[in-house]
């Protein structure tokens, strides 16, 4: 009997070990590096800057997640612009920001409905490609906004402020708050989020400047845009690095979770927090002294520019090539940069003095 129990224990151990091995093996299959595969934007025909703006077009908005306040704000901006231009708007999208398969099927739905253009915020840079290319083949103009795909899978990308501006200004904001001295950490969303990673790269680059020589980035943590996980990641950062002076969270979910945690802990006011947040989310924490300043672009403007870009593409005023420029109504003129990227401009900084002027 004893022997058999030992044997059984061994079997269980073996099973557990092989399971662990299997899991580690799974960990090895990462997504292909997307950055290495950057072709030029798919474009055909020639741009005619003087072409008339077409009316009666249909533009489908496909955010990462519907009912997400940020994307609702952006899509409302798009809706407003389309109304002004005499075109119609529709919004479809998955209920979960990690349902990439769902997003692919929404791309296909929009293609089947033969919309004239679609504005997509991609959950994943590669996964949507096949579906989006299919759409472009059917003469549907594809604009990505907020989060990009690979450049050859869309006509143009409307970037919320250039990645470079965002990354660098967040470091500058935090540096001022902590007096250019001390350990800092970053609380990001998912490890695979394209925009997050680009911003973080620019943050690291900015930190190389000699004026930040007394600041040290100790860790990048991932809260997966989930309140509870972001909470626990923040706790972990503060425990692992007791001398931490500041946290940058370039995600709206992460920053408000971190702020809520800080405001109810002994670290309130001692550890500075900045990053990208919305004024409505952060109002309480700015007013109670947990957060000094943070920044963001106006999502409604982002949605509006995405809509105007989509219409300009569908009207043939631009094709998505570098150097082309178009007029985006009251927003002024925009020029397409490298890889078909159109940048919204520098982000707005919110602090105690101006936060009450904004409502989104």
């Amino acid at each position: 009997m004893r022997k058999s129990s030992i044997r059984r224990a061994c079997a269980a151990l073996a099973a557990a070990t092989s399971l662990a091995l299997a899991l580690t093996a799974c960990g090895g299959t990462t997504k292909k590096d997307v950055a290495s595969d950057s072709g030029s934007a798919a474009s055909d025909g020639k741009a005619d800057p003087n072409a008339a703006t077409k009316k009666g077009l249909t533009v489908g908005f496909l955010p990462k997640q519907v009912n997400n306040p940020y994307f609702t704000s952006a899509d409302k901006g798009g809706e407003k612009a389309l109304k002004e231009l005499g075109s119609s708007y529709k919004e479809v999208g998955p209920n979960s920001a990690t349902d990439t398969a769902g997003q692919v099927s929404y791309v296909n739905t929009l293609t089947q409905q033969q919309v004239d253009a679609m504005a997509v915020s991609a959950q994943d840079p590669g996964a949507l490609c096949t579906a989006l290319k299919q759409a472009m083949k059917n003469d549907i103009k594809v604009v990505t906004y907020d989060s990009d795909t690979k450049p050859d899978c869309r006509n143009a990308f409307v970037s919320q402020a250039s990645a470079e501006d965002l990354g660098r200004t967040e470091v500058q904001l935090l540096a001022e708050q902590i007096g250019y001295k001390g350990e800092i950490a970053i609380l990001s969303a998912a490890q695979t989020a394209t925009n997050q990673n680009t911003w973080i790269d620019f943050m690291k680059d900015e930190l190389k400047d000699p004026k930040y020589k007394d600041m040290k980035l100790v860790k990048v943590a991932y809260g997966n845009d989930d309140a509870q996980q972001s909470f626990q990641q923040t706790q972990g950062l503060l425990q692992e690095y007791p001398n931490l002076k500041g946290i940058i969270s370039p995600t709206t979910v992460g920053i408000k979770a971190a702020a809520q945690y800080l405001s109810g802990s002994k670290y309130k006011g001692k550890v500075q927090l900045t990053g990208l947040g919305t004024p409505n989310d952060m109002r309480k924490y700015v007013n109670n002294g947990t957060v000094t300043a943070f920044e963001l672009w106006d999502p409604a403007k982002l949605g509006e520019l995405a809509a105007r870009t989509a219409v300009a593409l569908a009207s043939g005023q631009i094709t998505g090539k570098e150097g082309e420029s178009f007029k985006a109504g009251s927003m002024g003129d925009f020029t397409i940069g490298k890889d078909g990227v159109i940048s919204l401009g520098k982000p707005t900084v919110f602090n105690k003095d101006n936060i009450d002027q904004f409502n989104f």
Binding site: L23, N67, Y222, Q233, Q235, Q239, Q260, G264, D281
Partner: protein
């Protein structure tokens, strides 16, 4: 036989009761095992990072576990009756938002909590009625209500959200406050836990839940009001999910239409890791609470040790499988021990 049998029971003892005691002992050991794993994990982490068990650290550990402990307590009652409630995540989300909108309109905090609990009871009643009257598998029914409640939540909430600025300051402070390292929320959860455990152990209707889960047919023949008990278990589970919703609001200060999405799986994991057997009839709420504490603490331990959080899911899965394996081995052991004993007494 490796399970050392205690001294032969006195002749006056009927074999059944000594058998029950053995089963009891085994399951106490089961809870002890989780406790040992938990403590070992905490000690190792503390050795690696002395900040881990600071006052703030302990408070965080307790606060992190609180909400899951509450929902897992309710869930274990349902699981004990050989059913399951998958709609708890949706219930938590909708009740949190309901309490939030009420508070946003300038309502009283206590009434807001009651409102959340009442709405939770409503959801629980719905589940209970469907499962007990409809005689349909609970897994399917509550999967349905999971989507229905989440759907209603999405339609009602839309893109609105409740932020900390909308809530009364006292309510949010209550969510993170407490007496030194022990948060208020954890005290409430502990009170609920102890009361539930006492009820399950010392009240006839509590024991009947176990009987029902062990063998529904026999329980029915023995005159146990099966439908009523199942309905009660679901209602209680819903009420606790509602209470957890109110606590979620106080703790995170932020609720939108996706709050609590996918939470049911975490809850079921906690219950199973805690030794509440999925086929019903055995386990305790203390075990479930320990399971919840263990699972949420892993989320805190890994960052404190500087391990990437991508490991969390895999580790949770391994714990789950280990827990089921242990349960299976224990069940086989107990069965053969009982058989042997009955033979001896018979």
């Amino acid at each position: 036989m490796t399970v050392t049998a205690p001294n032969p029971a006195p002749a006056t003892d009927i074999p059944k009761s000594s058998g029950t005691r053995l089963v009891d002992r085994v399951f106490k050991m089961r809870e002890l095992a989780i406790l040992v794993v938990f403590l070992a994990m905490i000690v190792i982490t503390q050795a690696g990072n002395s900040e881990f068990l600071s006052e703030q650290g302990i408070k965080d550990l307790l606060l992190n576990a609180t909400i899951l402990v509450l929902v897992a307590t309710g869930q274990s009652l349902v699981v004990i009756t050989r059913n399951v409630d998958l709609s708890v995540g949706s219930t938590l989300g909708i009740t949190a938002f309901a309490a939030g909108t009420y508070l946003q309109g300038g309502g009283n905090s206590v009434v807001a909590v009651l409102l959340a609990v009442l709405l939770g009871i409503g959801c629980g009643l719905l589940n209970g009625l469907l499962v007990s009257l409809g005689q349909v598998p609970a897994l399917v029914v509550t999967l349905g209500t999971l989507y229905i409640i989440r759907g209603i939540d999405s339609i009602w909430v839309g893109s609105r959200q409740i932020t900390a600025a909308d809530l009364p300051g006292g309510f949010v402070d209550f969510g993170s406050g407490g007496i030194s390292a022990v948060p208020w929320l954890a005290m409430i959860a502990l009170a609920v836990l102890v009361a539930t455990a006492y009820y399950l152990k010392h009240y006839g209707s509590g024991r009947e839940l176990y009987a029902l889960g062990s063998n529904p047919e026999a329980a029915r023949l023995a005159g146990i009001p099966v439908r009523k008990r199942i309905l009660a278990a679901y209602t209680f589970c819903g009420a606790l999910a509602g209470l957890a919703g109110a606590m979620y609001l106080a703790r995170f200060g932020n609720v939108d239409s996706s709050t609590g999405n996918g939470y049911e799986l975490t809850v079921v994991s906690a219950v199973v890791v805690g030794g509440v057997v999925f086929t019903g009839g055995s386990g305790s709420v203390y075990g479930a609470a320990l399971g919840a504490l263990l699972l949420t603490s892993i989320n805190s331990v890994l960052p404190a040790l500087g391990v990437s959080s991508v490991w969390v899911l895999a580790i949770n899965g391994i714990l789950l499988l280990l827990a089921i394996a242990v349960d299976r081995i224990v069940a086989v052991r107990v069965a053969s021990a009982l058989k042997k004993r009955n033979a001896r007494h018979g």
